[in-house]
């Protein structure tokens, strides 16, 4: 064989091999943006820790929910902006009393084993979530959804089949609420409400989520699960909208240490990882196309203990307000966090949908004016050089929390002569201590369960189980109660925020930002979705 024919043959063979390697239906350009797509559509990202579960009704952590959102699909999905778009349901109708929702399910939705997804699968899943025997940590979510009889079922006083959900036929799901809930449809994007296959769960029990057993209805199927190491999911060919999925394979690697994760990202092993606190300015200079920051639906605050066990000084709103005024939030967001977090003057993050938190009096002042007012208020309350204010503040052990606590205590000391003693605690000890009101001032943070202001404002309701500071203001409670059923919630929420600004039961410090290193090859990351409910099927890898 001559050299020429040999090389011609080799070229022919390799191009044939290349052709064969291309997946059926692979596109070279993105259908909407027209960008050239990479041949290898694999997305690799970092998981902080092992997931709590891959069972939609049981999973409770954010990382686990991200995986479950790829494997399963609920009635509705979110788009890149967080707006509601059809999922398994093509749409829904609401009754006049706004207590009955009727969802219509699409014909072509099937499980990964080929069985159709029916309304009965949703009924089964929702009853399962509420059933005490399932022992789901998200039973409370079913109650929050205000499904008829949910409370009684969770309390064990009623059978799960009494839940306000039924399937008149395979394509129709009827949901009955105990009271109108304006954001109910939003809640159907949450993993607790995803359908689950009864036949598979009954056959395999708690082992049904293993790769060899699992049957799911989302854009991906689980193909590998090595606990503590990696979770691999691959394109589900049976998914009704599979034609539009671009990423073929999603690899989630468990990396506990965020600095190791960053190193591995820089070495090219990952497409996405979180940026450790304080490193964003450097990284955004070195890799401006990859370091991204965008607002998230979470707040960071310190709460006063206003219960019986709290210090007498904090019962005076002037003291609380003085301490809040003296906090220079710009220093914390610019020099400590340095990840593009917005400073917080309201409890509800500005990123929330459907409500713009009001500009409070404090937000409009300069820091010098705030400091001046803080001194006056504290003096009025009777604290000064001859009667110095001192208290303890607790936070859970973490480098970033410690830095912030130190900065806060220094600001108070230098500006107001206040002595704050810091104490850090291991996470569970911290939660236990804070939950039992065994503290004077404690760190707090909250991420919205759904994109509506009440997920934050409810926290300060005197009846809320999450109100660790035991703030109790009947006027505030009444506003929150009214907002549950109001047509227009904005004036009520605005008023509630004004009360918080005046009464200052908590000191809002900053609102979270999602601070990531995201490979510039990755397209479609929903930076505008403040809940960061992302779907791998909407991502794509651009050709380099």
């Amino acid at each position: 064989m001559t050299r020429l024919t040999r090389s011609a043959l080799a070229a022919l063979l390799s191009s044939a091999a290349l052709f064969a390697a291309l997946p059926a239906g692979a596109q070279d350009t993105h259908p909407e943006t027209g960008e050239a797509l990479a041949a290898d559509q694999v997305f690799t990202y970092r998981l902080l820790d092992n997931v709590s579960s891959l069972d939609p009704q049981i999973v409770e952590d954010v990382d686990g929910s991200d995986v479950v959102r790829d494997l399963f699909e609920g009635l509705m999905n979110q788009d890149a902006q967080g707006n509601l778009v059809p999922g398994v349901a093509t749409g829904y109708e609401v009754s006049d009393d706004r207590k009955t929702y009727t969802f219509t399910l699409r014909e072509d939705a099937v499980w990964s084993d080929g069985e159709p997804v029916t309304a009965g699968d949703f009924v089964y899943a929702w009853r399962r979530a509420a059933d005490p025997a399932t022992a789901s940590p998200y039973q409370w979510f079913v109650e929050l959804m205000s499904l008829e009889n949910a409370g009684a079922i969770v309390a064990g006083e009623m059978a799960p089949d009494q839940l306000g959900v039924s399937a008149p036929d395979d394509r129709t799901l009827e949901v009955r609420l105990s009271e109108p809930l304006p954001y109910f449809p939003q809640m159907t994007t949450h993993s607790t409400t995803f359908p689950t296959p009864q036949r598979v769960i009954e056959e395999h029990g708690s082992e049904w989520t293993r790769p060899e057993n699992i049957v799911s209805n989302g854009a991906y199927v689980l193909t590998e699960y090595s606990p503590g190491e990696r979770i691999v999911r691959e394109r589900n060919e049976a998914y009704w909208n599979n034609a539009e999925t671009i990423i073929d394979r999603v690899v989630a690697l468990v990396i506990n240490d965020e600095n190791v994760a960053l190193t591995r990202y820089l070495a090219g092993e990952l497409d996405r990882t979180e940026v450790p606190a304080g490193q964003f300015p450097r990284l955004s200079q070195e890799r401006p196309d990859e370091a991204i920051s965008f607002p998230r639906l979470c707040n960071y605050y310190y709460t006063f203990n206003l219960s019986e066990s709290g210090p007498e000084a904090f019962k005076d709103p002037r003291v609380r307000k003085a301490l809040s005024l003296a906090v220079d939030r710009d220093i914390i967001v610019n020099n400590v966090k340095a990840g593009g977090e917005p400073p917080a003057y309201t409890f509800t993050p500005e990123a929330v949908a459907g409500f713009t938190p009001p500009e409070t009096e404090m937000a409009g002042m300069t820091q010098a004016e705030r400091d001046e007012m803080a001194k006056e208020l504290l003096a009025e309350a009777g604290y000064g050089p001859d009667n110095p204010l001192s208290f303890d503040m607790i936070y859970n052990t973490d480098e970033a929390h410690e830095k912030i606590a130190v900065v806060l205590s220094q600001m108070w000391k230098q500006k107001l002569g206040v002595q704050a003693t810091l104490a850090n605690m291991e996470w569970k000890v911290f939660l236990d201590t804070r939950g039992q009101q065994d503290f004077e001032m404690a760190r707090g943070a909250w991420c919205g369960d759904y994109n509506e202001a009440s997920t934050f404002l409810d926290l300060l309701d005197s009846a809320s189980g999450y109100n660790d500071g035991k703030y109790n203001n009947p006027e505030y409670d009444a506003l929150i109660e009214q907002a549950k059923t109001a047509e227009d919630t904005t004036p009520l929420y605005t008023q509630a925020e004004q009360i918080i600004a005046e009464d200052m039961p908590v000191i809002p410090i900053y609102h979270y930002a999602g601070v990531y290193m995201l490979d510039s090859d990755v397209g479609g990351w929903p930076v505008d979705n403040v809940e960061q409910n992302w779907y791998s099927r909407e991502l794509y890898k651009k050709a380099e």
Partner: protein, 307 residues
């Protein structure tokens, strides 16, 4: 000998039982529980979950049920935190990983450490000795939490030769850094112990006698000096063996191997009682067995010891 082994094993049972009881009560004494969370569960929900895991029972009853399940079914219960998995499952998944790279580290540390020590001792006060001693001290000063970051920086970020972590079924590329990180400091300490032990043996009367008989140096070294040299090394190796499996917590977390050390730490932090107890029992049993093996090795190394 056999009766000695049986006697030792019989003593091990109450030892481990005591360990379980102590660990059980200590763990319940720690504030918070597996279901304490930032979003405190409503009382009814918490009650349902606690009932599911038997946490609503009095402590003594929980302990009794736990022990009965182990003895009757060899079932260490479900994990309270990783809700799709049982403790048996978690151990079956993580322990082989820990054992693989822990065992390799142990082997590397023993062979390299003892080799370095012997070499230094037989070339006493030569440049080889000084070199080996310096190397040993340097290695000993590099615990795994220092080695880990250095290795990743060099081999992953700068050279791009090795993956920065993971396991991937235990392929060799994934094993290199965990093994080096874990073995390095032990190589140093084993080398130092071997060297000083060998120097002592080489200066003892029976070696002088052997030399006087005109035996070749090689025979003296291997037939006469080796076994007594290894006595202190073996007593050090016993605990090291358990350490490389339990002390691999850092390596597990840093290199994301998926080994048992990571589960051990996270179970303590998340109050995953069942996993914490299960892993403690495993490590406790292992310690008891390794101690027994060490004692048996003494008898082989030193004919004066009889059981």
């Amino acid at each position: 000998m056999l009766s000695y082994v049986i006697r030792r094993l019989a003593v091990a049972i109450p030892t481990i039982l005591l360990l379980i009881v102590a660990c059980f009560f200590l763990m319940h004494l720690a504030p918070g529980g597996p279901f304490t969370s930032e979003r405190p569960l409503p009382p009814a929900v918490l009650a349902n979950i606690e009932a599911q895991y038997g946490l609503d029972q009095p402590l003594w009853k929980q302990l009794w049920d736990y022990l009965a399940n182990i003895v009757l079914h060899f079932d260490f219960g479900p994990s309270f935190v990783q809700k799709d998995r049982s403790v048996n499952d978690i151990i079956a998944n993580g322990f082989p990983i820990s054992l693989t790279y822990g065992g390799l580290s142990f082997l590397a540390a023993t062979v390299l450490g003892a080799g370095l020590g012997v070499l230094a001792a037989i070339r006493h006060n030569s440049w080889i000795d000084y070199g080996a001693v310096s190397l040993g001290i340097a290695a000993q000063a590099l615990p795994n939490f220092i080695m880990g970051p250095i290795l990743i920086l060099v081999f992953t970020l700068w050279l791009g030769l090795l993956p920065g972590g993971g396991w991937n079924g235990g392929q060799w590329q994934y094993l290199v850094m965990p093994v080096i990180a874990l073995a390095t400091s032990y190589i140093g300490s084993i080398a130092r112990i071997t060297r000083s032990s060998m120097l002592e043996v080489m200066n003892s009367n029976f070696i002088r006698t052997a030399r006087a008989k005109g035996l070749p140096e090689r025979t003296i070294l291997w037939r006469h000096a080796m076994k007594p040299t290894l006595m202190p090394v073996v007593s050090y190796l016993g605990p090291v063996f358990v350490y490389v499996l339990t002390g691999s917590v850092f390596v597990d977390l840093y290199f994301s191997t998926g080994g048992l050390g990571a589960d051990y730490v996270s179970s303590a932090l998340t109050r995953d009682y069942a996993v914490l107890l299960g892993v403690t029992i495993l490590y406790g049993t292992l310690t008891v067995l390794v101690n027994l093996a060490t004692d048996l090795a003494y008898a082989w190394l030193d004919p004066r010891i009889r059981y």
